[in-house]
């Protein structure tokens, strides 16, 4: 019974973290590809996407088996440290966005900026190198973050297949929505999703770092849910403090 609860808690956090991280990155990649396709034509955009996907698949083929060979405690410590750093960076940005110290991620603005920069370079007949490179970089860099999330979370939890499947579902779902609405997905609550992903990444990072250092967590895997609650509360308190000090500063300056 206790083992079932432990496994369920770990699975819930794993699925949530991978799904949200993959969905957020897919929104960003899709925004770039849509901007390239609409501005410069679809042929080179699709070629860029295709080559990026092949490069990502090659990377997975190389890194995946190598990660499986690493001893589990070492893998969990390395993955924990990477996730803790990455998660804290992600959560810090989300906290700053929520408290008004950083501009919120705006897919409309990114779409407009990409279209404007592509328009400046002028149209090319036939193969379009600029469109290819922009689409390739957009898909490869955002895709790399999905690959890192899947490989790190999946291998350290011994659920690589589940993590890959969840990421695939998220990518396909966002892709379908993007194609149906055929615009820049600005209605997706991306900033709230980024906050949730940050909280889950930090929770997983803390948990695996502890496991890698042979720390025995109270409640074992159930503690993952406890960490999610602790970091969510901490983020809310930090946002509140930043907002209140911002209001105080404005009142003093006015």
């Amino acid at each position: 019974m206790i083992a079932t609860v432990n496994a369920t808690s770990a699975t819930i956090v794993l699925v949530g973290a991978v799904f949200l991280a993959a969905a957020v990155e897919m929104v960003e990649a899709l925004t770039i590809v849509l901007a390239v396709g609409h501005t410069r034509g679809w042929r080179s955009a699709f070629e860029g996407v295709g080559v990026a996907l092949v490069a990502l698949a090659a990377l997975v083929a190389v890194l995946g088996p190598a990660l499986v060979e690493v001893p589990l405690s070492t893998l969990r410590l390395i993955v924990g440290i990477v996730l803790l750093i990455f998660g804290l960076q992600w959560l810090r940005k989300a906290v700053l966005r929520s408290s008004g110290y950083k501009a919120k991620h705006d897919e409309d603005a990114i779409y407009r900026e990409t279209v404007a920069s592509l328009a400046l370079t002028g149209e090319r007949p036939g193969r379009d190198g600029v469109a290819f490179v922009v689409a390739f970089k957009g898909v490869f860099l955002e895709g790399l973050e999905i690959v890192i999330a899947v490989l790190t979370l999946g291998t350290s939890a011994h659920r690589l297949g589940l993590a890959a499947a969840v990421a695939g579902v998220a990518v396909v779902l966002v892709g379908i929505v993007g194609v149906i609405v055929a615009k820049q997905l600005s209605n997706v609550p991306e900033n709230a999703m980024k906050m949730a992903v940050g909280i889950m990444l930090v929770s997983y990072g803390t948990f695996w770092t502890g496991e890698g250092l042979k720390v025995r967590w109270p409640g074992d895997d159930v503690m993952l849910l406890g960490l999610v609650v602790i970091y969510a509360l901490a983020a809310a308190v930090i946002v509140r403090i930043l907002v209140s000090t911002s209001s105080t500063a404005k009142a003093v300056n006015s």
């Binding site: 410590l77 440290i81 990477v82 803790l84 750093i85 990455f86 804290l88 960076q89 959560l91 810090r92 906290v95 700053l96 408290s99 110290y101 950083k102 790399l144 890192i148 930090v202 803390t206 770092t209 502890g210 250092l213 042979k214 720390v215 025995r216 967590w217 109270p218 960490l227 602790i230 970091y231 901490a234 983020a235 930090i238 403090i241 930043l242 000090t245 911002s246």
Partner: protein
């Protein structure tokens, strides 16, 4: 091409490796070196508490508390720079 821009002269393998290194540097350090340094310090402190002092409860409490403190201080640093 400027005198300093010699990347086109380097072998492909060197450019790929330096690009790979740059990606990981941006990924793990980027504009928040304080987080990277803090996490390394946290890991060291927790390892000492766990393996030398043998205090398990204090080790996991320290891990969580220092991570929250790191987040708060890094956000405060960003606010000061804003």
């Amino acid at each position: 091409m400027s005198a300093q821009d010699t990347s086109g002269d380097r072998p492909l393998i060197w450019r790929l490796l330096s690009g790979f290194g740059r990606f990981w540097w941006d990924f793990l350090v980027g504009d928040t070196p304080e987080i990277t340094v803090a996490v390394i310090v946290i890991v060291g402190v927790v390892a000492l508490l766990r393996d030398v002092a043998h205090v398990n409860a204090l080790a996991y409490v320290t891990l969580v508390v220092l991570s929250v403190v790191t987040l708060a201080l890094s956000a405060a640093r960003a606010r000061r720079k804003a």
